[in-house]
Amino acid sequence: MNSLGNANTGSIDERGPMSELGAARGAPRATTPFAAALLAVPGILWMVLFLLGPLLMIVYVSFWTQKTFTIESTLTLKSWIFFFSSQTYLSALLTTLRIWLIVLVATFVVGYPVALYIGLFIRNKTIQTIVLVICVVPFWTSFLIRVLAWRPMLGTEGAVNLLLMKLGVISAPIDVLLFTEFSVIIGMTQIYVVFMVGPIAFMLSRIDHSLIEAARDLGAGTWRIFRTIIFPLSLPGVVTGAIFVSVMVLGEFATSAELSGRKVNMLGNIIVTQVGSLKWAFAAVAGVILTVLMGLVIAGLLRVVNLRKEL
């Protein structure tokens, strides 16, 4: 109430139980900060109940005591110590980091030229939209089918091997194509590249063509113009795309399981296995580490460019 009975209300009489109504009626356009804050309540409630609460719960559970089939709320550091002293878990962490970095670079290398073509060279906005829609056509099929479709492509009797043998490039099928880290990376790059293309193409399409003409008029060649004008102006798109890809790849478990024959274990796979065998405390530790990792990656990427200023 005190915050509402401000000097603007004027007379002392209005300050009372009814002042809230009076303020709401008296200022239909200049909404009070309080009324505006009400708009955020459903969202905040939702996030607290279903994100912040569970998140804190996971941190809490990671300190519980794990018995073979049960878990007790006695606080202990055992699960944490176990995670950091286990070769399996540490190598899963390293695998996650390695695959994330490789896929991030691969989606950028594959996606940037595509985005450049869509965003800068297709002048017609309608065609631009159509092409972007075509990029998301694979999403009309289920995620698992998109992953599994790589098996008949990369297997020893798969399409790639058959084609290479027919062409006489190889005499025996290459067997490292499937069920290796390589196939996991191929699969993830294909699935997530569109999340890199979209934001970059969007930023590129907003570049005023007269900037490029101005740079050329000032004597710069094509590569210089790309380096000094086009790429810096598309950077917010690159960072946005990188955040999308990073968050999704870091949390991956399905692609790595299906395309590696369960040989490649990422943190996500660890969580799935631990939850499956009712090891809630270990799963919670892996979950906390994964969340912190994502937080660090996003914070790091946001330092590259000030998104609030650019978008």
Partner: protein
């Protein structure tokens, strides 16, 4: 003086629609040429072709006597100042101006000290000394215009093309920039080609004024010559200071349904189609029935007036045809009150009219 820029027979069509039709133009070294054209007259296309952003379908462009048709925009040595300034938003004012020096294909500067010296000298020149560190978002429209100019000037182009450079500025700033542009031109002696759709700007800025019409040069002369003796009725229309009547000439008089006006000496005696032009400020408003011999006169109903400081414009409706405008310069006249819907006599000396047949 020799021609620094020679355009010969430039044609360009977009999707079959011609924008330029065999345009030829020669610009003297060190001149300030303003080019007046309505939107769609092909003036922007022409600038883009000269700069090298577009290829003409036919014709030749010579800079300093050499054809530059096969030369890319980045190697032509022609500066272009964009209407929307096209400043690089992710760079400071300093970096914008330094861009050409640092990144040009030919003769890029490496020495940071030399770049700093030249950029700062140029910023001082356009009146932006000390603002080099500002971001583009932190400066005003007029300052952006100066940055755009400095960015181009610092690369020492042979010619500077200005595409409606004052169009994005408010009236007050426009006049200041007009003075500034003239000063900079005088100081540097670079050839300027200034395109505009504003007749006052075109008249004020150039040593020479080109009127572009329908994809070709309709007139090229000194501004006062264009103003006083437009080459055609169409040019007169662009200048936006002539009343133009369409009709025919019979026995040395211009006629149009009910209208009969004496023609100036030297006009044709007979023509099936003719345009009769009389400048807004050559007309006197008088009481009906006070017609003088040797003067042209029409009766028209007073409609409204528009006051704009030094002048006042009165609008009259003749019995048929479009409104006739009369402009009084208030240093010579006192503003007069006329009764709306009353008829007055508009008269002017026959010799002040221009007739095109």
């Amino acid at each position: 003086m020799t021609a620094i820029l020679d355009l010969h027979g430039i044609s360009k069509a977009y999707a079959g629609k011609p924008a330029l039709r065999g345009l030829s133009l020669s610009v003297d070294r060190g001149a300030y040429v303003s080019m007046l054209g309505s939107s769609g007259s092909g003036k922007s296309t022409l600038l883009r072709i000269i700069a090298g952003f577009e290829r003409p379908d036919a014709g030749d462009i010579r800079v300093d006597g050499r054809s530059v048709l096969g030369v890319g925009a980045h190697e032509r040595g022609i500066g272009f100042v964009f209407q929307n300034f096209a400043l690089f938003p992710h760079m400071t004012v300093f970096e914008n101006v330094a861009f050409g020096l640092r990144h040009r294909v030919r003769g890029a500067l490496r020495a940071e000290q030399e770049i700093r010296r030249r950029v700062e000298a140029m910023l001082d020149m356009v009146g932006l000394g000390g603002l080099g560190g500002r971001a583009i978002g932190q400066i005003s429209g007029g300052q952006k215009q100066r940055v755009a100019l400095a960015r181009t000037l610092v690369t020492d182009p042979a010619i500077i093309l200005l595409d409606e450079p004052l169009g994005a500025l408010d009236a007050n700033l426009r006049e200041r920039m007009m003075v500034e542009l003239r000063r900079i031109h005088r100081q540097l002696g670079i050839t300027f080609l200034h395109v505009t759709g504003n007749e006052q700007e075109a008249l004020a800025m150039g040593d020479r004024l080109t009127v572009l019409d329908n994809g070709a040069v309709a007139q090229l002369a000194e501004p006062d010559a264009v103003y006083n003796r437009p080459a055609s009725a169409r040019v007169a229309r662009f200048l936006n200071c002539y009343n133009i009547f369409e009709g025919r000439i019979e026995d040395g008089r211009f006629r149009r349904d009910g209208l009969s006006l004496p023609c100036p000496k030297g006009a044709p005696r007979r023509a099936a189609e003719a345009s009769y032009c009389v400048r807004f400020d050559r007309i006197t408003i008088a009481e009906p029935g006070s017609a003088q011999p040797d003067e042209a006169a029409i009766t028209a109903r007073f409609v409204a007036s528009e006051y704009d400081g030094p002048t006042i414009t009165y609008f009259f409706a003749p019995p048929n045809g479009k409104a006739v405008e009369v402009e009084y310069h208030l240093s010579h006249h006192r503003p007069e009150e006329f009764a709306v819907d009353r008829e007055y006599l508009l008269r002017w000396p026959a010799e002040d009219a221009l007739v095109y047949a």
